[in-house]
């Protein structure tokens, strides 16, 4: 079974600074997708970024970028120029290419200090 681990329960960052969230996963599949979701206090689950395992290039979405290391099964999220609105829970998630579910990590709470 696939597992997703986020080792940082909470991270704090100064406004305008950069923070990196860690995620590792375990799988025997070669083709899969990885995601980062943001959950603000409103509890809405918002997709931040997606990475296809077959792509070597790291995905970026504006201030959000990932460092995908397939051999190491690592998928970290970097938030640059942090803003107050970035404060939220962040979840790493895995989906096998032929799978029918997303498996989530335990989440990392990001605090942004003004």
């Amino acid at each position: 079974a696939q597992t997703v681990t986020q080792s940082q329960p909470e991270m704090s960052v100064q406004e305008a600074e950069t923070v990196t969230l860690s995620c590792t996963y375990d799988t025997s599949e070669s083709d899969y997708y990885l995601f980062w979701y943001k959950q603000p206090p409103s509890r809405q689950m918002i997709l931040v970024i997606r990475q296809e395992a077959y792509k070597q290039q790291n995905a970026t979405e504006n201030r959000f970028s990932v460092n995908f290391q397939k051999a190491a099964k690592s998928f970290s999220l970097k938030i640059s120029d942090s803003q107050l609105g970035d404060a939220a829970m962040y979840f790493c998630a895995y989906r096998g290419a032929a799978g029918n579910k997303l498996t989530f990590g335990g989440g990392t709470r990001v605090l942004v200090k003004p």
């Binding site: 997708y33 509890r43 689950m45 997606r50 296809e52 029918n100 579910k101 989530f104 335990g106 989440g107």
Partner: protein, 110 residues
């Protein structure tokens, strides 16, 4: 237009009652899910449906019964509610990759 909508947003009920949560998606997706988020924010899959057929049931008590009348709807009925059922329940849908989530239903059993 809301892509995945679930109702109600909040539900407070007494132990032993039966309740339902409704979910609808207008994205044309084939697959729909129910996830449970516990008090520690951990998200766990409960059920997955593809084209109205149940494909995943992750050892959920049989007091929980999903119903998919069509591809766009997946409702969750819970019988004999227990204190431990208190959580946020998310409906989601997907086609091939990422899932799109509803706004969640906070269920409180008292």
């Amino acid at each position: 237009d809301t892509a995945v909508s679930q109702t109600p947003k909040y539900l407070v009920t007494q132990m032993g009652n039966d309740k339902s949560i409704k979910c609808e998606q207008n994205l044309g997706h084939d697959t729909m899910y129910w996830y449970k988020q516990d008090s520690k924010k951990f998200l766990k899959i409960m059920f997955s449906y593809n084209n109205k057929e149940l494909i995943i049931n992750e050892t959920v008590p049989n007091r929980f019964s999903p119903k998919s009348p069509d591809k766009a709807h997946l409702n969750l009925h819970i019988n004999s509610l227990e204190l431990g059922d208190s959580a946020v329940y998310f409906c989601a849908s997907s086609r091939l990759t990422e899932a799109f989530f509803g706004q969640g239903t906070r269920l409180t059993v008292v």
